[in-house]
Amino acid sequence: MTVSVPPLPRRARLPGRGSLPVRVARNPAGLFGIFVVTGLLVLVAFAPQIAPYDPAHQDIVNRLQGPSANHLLGTDQLGRDLLSRLIFGVRIELQVAVPATLGALALGLLLGLAAGYLGGRADNALIVVMDAIQAFPAVILALTILALLGPSLRNVAIVLAVAFAPAYARVARALVLAVKQNPYIEAERSLGASSPRIVLAHIVPNILPPLLTLVAMNLPSAIGAEAGLSFLGLGVQPPTPSWGVILADGFEHVRDAPWAVIWTGLTLMATTLGFTFLGEALRDQLDPRLAGALH
């Protein structure tokens, strides 16, 4: 006698299933974000191969040209190819934005852990200090510190890390307070675990993933701030092809040759939009509770 075994039902494909990149890419905005960020990473890795010219190569005869077959986006006031400068500029943007954001995360995490875990007076004192730092609009705080440190790529990264840190500290503190309530922390403590062990082995691993999502959402602000400060002449200095420097050069000649301003503006807008969409899509997948945490 043979028994017919019904085939096993296929695993149901729920809307939330699939690997993280697949789930993010299912959302059109997330897909746009992946497209932009991947494109930027390719440009960072292969800038010398992709860029048609050396970004510093000057060709005074062909200065302030509009788009042409030789120079797809035109040239600047020294005849340098705008496309090549924008491509190499991606490296500069990420060289500032990534350390600045990770620095803000590290500083914010440290302060948030101290405030949330220690509680009491330490918490109150840190809140007042953070309130004082956040009383400066981020741009103004950055300008104040740059006024003293002087303009340079490294100083812009430091300044932005300091300006963004209080926002991370606040979120980290709130997350620590929530995690601290869990029974397993209490159990660890009753078993005699030391505070550093509880913090490093249990609290940090739990609060880090949502904070990393915030890093993705904060990167566009860091890129925008760097370009803004360099545009004012207080960030990365010429002839380094930072987007802010290209914008500042373009602004000088905006009446005769608006191309530099137009292309750099569009590149910056697409980049910030791409990172924001990707950050939002990641947040929706990983931790929807964080909506609006950095705004």
């Binding site: 007042v128 309130d131 925008g224 910056l268 807008m269």
Partner: protein, 316 residues
Amino acid sequence: MLQYLIKRIGMAFLVAVLLMVFLALLVHAVPGDPVNAILGQRSTPELVRTVREQMGLDKTVPAQVAQFVGHAFQGDLGHDFVSNLPVTNLIRNALPHTIALAVSSLALAILFGIPLGVLAATRPNGILDRLTGVVSISLITTPSYIAGLYLLLLFSLTVELFPAVGTGSFSHPIGYLQHLVLPAVALALGWIGYFARLVRTSMLEILNANYIRTAYAYGLRESVIVYRHALKNAIIPTVAVLGVGLGELMGGAVFVEVIFSRVGLGSLIVESIETRNYPVVQGCVLTVALLFVLANLLADLSYRFLDPRIRVEEST
């Protein structure tokens, strides 16, 4: 309410004092001699001595902090290194223009952002809602200097509708407004997007409330329900961020003032940084930060005044 008022004002005062201490100490964050860092290549022994005396750097650090805070409370923010004018005079000339810019930007953001949010919330997930969502995020992520540069290119240099540079004078209101339009729009765009998102979220929550369903059941017109009953409550979270908004707008004014060559605190700060005129930077930054603290305080208090739930919670 009175207890909260006292606590909140006390907190704002404490933050203000901390701000002054922070600014007084910041000069010591510079590696090496702060006076040499401030003067750069202009440094001469005589000038170094004058600046050291003027900024009180020849005293101990606690004495310097006490002097800066004490003088700031009396309205004395030191003297400009270049012109030797009191810093407060420079701020008095620039501040009204920055406030006019920030307030008109905030007004534009409220005027356009709130209806945009209402429009999106009344047709959730429809084409209009999705379109508003994309537009809002695009506006939020566009830096104000990019918006300013594009507006300048389009409406000053190409179409020549508005002046490209200058501030105008308060004695000629029409000319002043013409100079104000593009900078104010450039600064407002991001906040229009932000307010639209904020109002949409709170409107969606309110439109599902029982009292709104009851209003529909009574047969009230949609416009009456949306604008008179729902918006009144949905607007409260927006009021809470107005203070932050005004402060951020004053910060963002730096870029717009430089692009449109406007007189204001922002352009004064940039100019002073370029000439390493630290007392002017210190004074301007303190003014912006104090206004930020004040705007936050007022927004927080009005938020509590507007939301009866908070008052009831406090009294029980």
